[in-house]
Amino acid sequence: MTVESTAARKARRSAGGKAGTTGTKSSTTGTKRTTSRTAAKKAPGTEPELVQLLTPEGKRIKNAEYDPYVAGITPEELRGLYRDMVLTRRFDAEATVLQRQGELGLWASLLGQEAAQIGSGRAVTDDDYIFPTYREHGVAWCRGVDPTNLLGMFRGVNNGGWDPNSNNFHLYTIVIGSQTLHATGYAMGLAKDGANSAVIAYFGDGASSQGDVAEAFTFSAVYNAPVVFFCQNNQWAISEPTEKQTRVPLYQRAQGYGFPGVRVDGNDVLACLAVTKWALERARNGEGPTLVEAYTYRMGAHTTNDDPTRYRHDDERAAWEAKDPIARLRSYLQSQTDTDEGFFAELETESEALGRRVREVVRTMPDPDHFAIFENVYADGHALVDEERAEFAAYQESFADVEEGKQR
């Protein structure tokens, strides 16, 4: 007895008498495919909606949905946001220079992304928890992490020099996307604890392709975790443009997971503040995750090791320069508030002082003790680590003997 599947029988039948029909069918399918591909290209992504409250010229635009989240903002608070962005940019520039001078091994500049980071960073409350990538210097600033602490890993004296729990700001994560799962797990914990706080996870357009990000979306949706996924789409993942990561605008991916996604002008600090506040409020209200895509631009190189002239044109950068996050808030402050020139002058002085302090701290940052290699590998210790530490000590000791001998 021959056992064969229904599908196999079907195929044999069509291959038999109706070859012509099969041919027509396949050509129809071909046409359909082309059509669907065209349709995908014209999918809602061609002209995505962008939440903007402040134009590049510094004009305030009304937005019924998000205005309430920044309705009560005072000129003083606006100046605060401006100050944060200026000081973050100054710190960032100083770090780039320190790398060029050999004081840092590497630096990942946030130039151009100040509004996305300060806007979202100022939206979180003290009890909220933040999971950054390795470029969130502005968010760290909002969190009160001493900027010089961020430089330790780039100088090579540690792999993260701050206590995540003292500022609710996790260590920088270099394996892109990994932290979105940690954020989701932490948010699941918040929900279990009945805490009235939320989590925000930062990642980029490149990381959006990682499986971990997809899994974080799945887990957070399934468990309704209070987490905001804040994607800074800075257009470039080292040399790869966003088109190499996605066919649809990134914020639209949220829909497939069953939670809202919003694209916000990432160079508009006010819009980033409002949208992030909205998303965090949803999380706190038990409405689950939100994806925010902050549409921005990486004005500098990926890191100080990168050379963007090999893959992108200067005119693109020039176009984004016209949308500078700091310039637009300055225009607004000057035209719509009582901010006087003294404020800007004072900030300039403060800025220079910050640069000086960063320089001095980095240059005097001591190398770690040799035995730091063996420290904290385990919380409860490990026999092999103890053994190798002792071997290393004996080896070091042998050099000391030789040197002493020479001196004698």
Partner: protein, 331 residues
């Protein structure tokens, strides 16, 4: 309290782990169980049987089918103060989570300069001999032992399974807990009032004088059988159950080898770059003048785990281990 009053119960290894998880859930509200099918079904091996019913969906969590997500969210929960015990359904399915385990779980304590502890237990049923399909019979412990920051253990019997799980959950370090799935139904006495041996200490399970057999997990039972067979031929074999692959109790192996002068290491994992290689190297360094023969290893071959009809040829068995014992004694 007297020993009589709390006499141990005879139970299968899987049940012992179940009891241990139950005790952990009872005694610490921060302990969570996570994994695929661990809830209503009780896991494909029933190791978590009945736990969701008694502790609720909030603590015994059926997860989406995504291993990186399971370990990644467990890390987040641990950061929030929880002590997650996650189940990877089968050895061959751990690799999507390998990135989270190696780059995140293992390193967090060091990179936070000791400020962050991640008490996460990753349970992995491992090993072959059960006639399973591809990816259901592997022994990947060496791939984890190579990573600093992780602790790797594997019990060989029900009593150790119970106690080692208690200790793994109490550990502030991440522990990869390899469960010998072909021994899940082997019974032994478990006394929940006993005082357990330290988690990373090897145990002499049979004393001997002519040769030392070292094994862990599923191979301990085999080595006991080898020792029985050798005894019939008048040879006295000492069997050491390592219990822990990282850290590895070299002191206990050294003490045994200084007595016997001969060492054979047995594991299901491939011999090439396996834990036996590390044991051979270190014991050669430590016991060079005590060794009467080179350290020999019996394990899997440098080939993909074979189809089930061939696994008896691939896995160490009584004759292959006896053959190695003969070769060692012939030096």
């Amino acid at each position: 309290m007297t020993a009589q009053a709390v006499a141990g119960k005879n139970m299968a290894l899987a049940k012992a782990i179940n009891e241990s998880l139950r005790k952990a859930l009872e005694s610490d509200p921060k302990v969570l169980i996570m994994g695929e099918d661990v809830g209503k079904l009780g896991g494909v091996f029933r190791v978590t049987d009945g736990l969701q019913k008694d502790f609720g969906e909030d603590r015994v969590i059926d997860t989406p089918l995504a291993e990186s997500g399971i370990v990644g969210t467990a890390i987040g929960l641990a950061l929030r103060g929880y002590r997650p015990v996650v189940e990877i359904q089968f050895d061959g399915f751990v690799f999507p989570a390998y990135d989270q385990i190696v780059t995140q779980l293992a390193k967090m304590h060091a990179r936070s300069l000791g400020k962050v502890k991640l008490p996460v237990v990753v349970r992995i049923p491992y090993g072959g001999g059960i006639g399973a399909v591809e990816h259901h019979s592997e022994s990947p412990e060496s791939l984890f032992a190579h990573v600093a920051g992780l602790k790797i253990v594997s019990p060989s019997n029900a009593s150790d399974a119970y106690w080692m799980m208690q200790q793994a959950i109490q550990s502030d370090d991440p522990v990869i807990f390899f469960e010998p799935k072909r021994r899940y139904w082997d019974k032994a006495e478990v006394n929940p009032e006993a005082i357990p041996a330290p988690l990373h200490k090897a145990q002499v399970v049979r004393a001997g004088t002519d040769l030392t057999l070292v094994a862990y997990g599923p191979m301990v039972k085999l080595c006991r059988e080898v020792a029985d067979a050798a005894a019939e031929e008048g040879r006295s074999l000492e069997v050491l159950d390592l219990r822990s692959v990282s850290p590895l109790d070299f002191d206990s192996i050294q003490a045994s080898v200084e007595k016997t002068g001969r060492l054979v290491v047995v594991h299901e994992a491939p011999v090439f770059f396996g834990s036996g290689a590390e044991i051979a190297a270190r014991i050669t360094e430590r016991c060079f003048y005590h060794l009467e023969a080179p350290v020999l290893r019996v394990g899997g071959y440098h080939a993909p785990y074979p189809p089930a009809r061939l696994e008896e040829e691939y896995l160490p068995n009584l004759d292959r281990v006896l053959d190695a014992v003969d070769r060692s004694l012939a030096y």
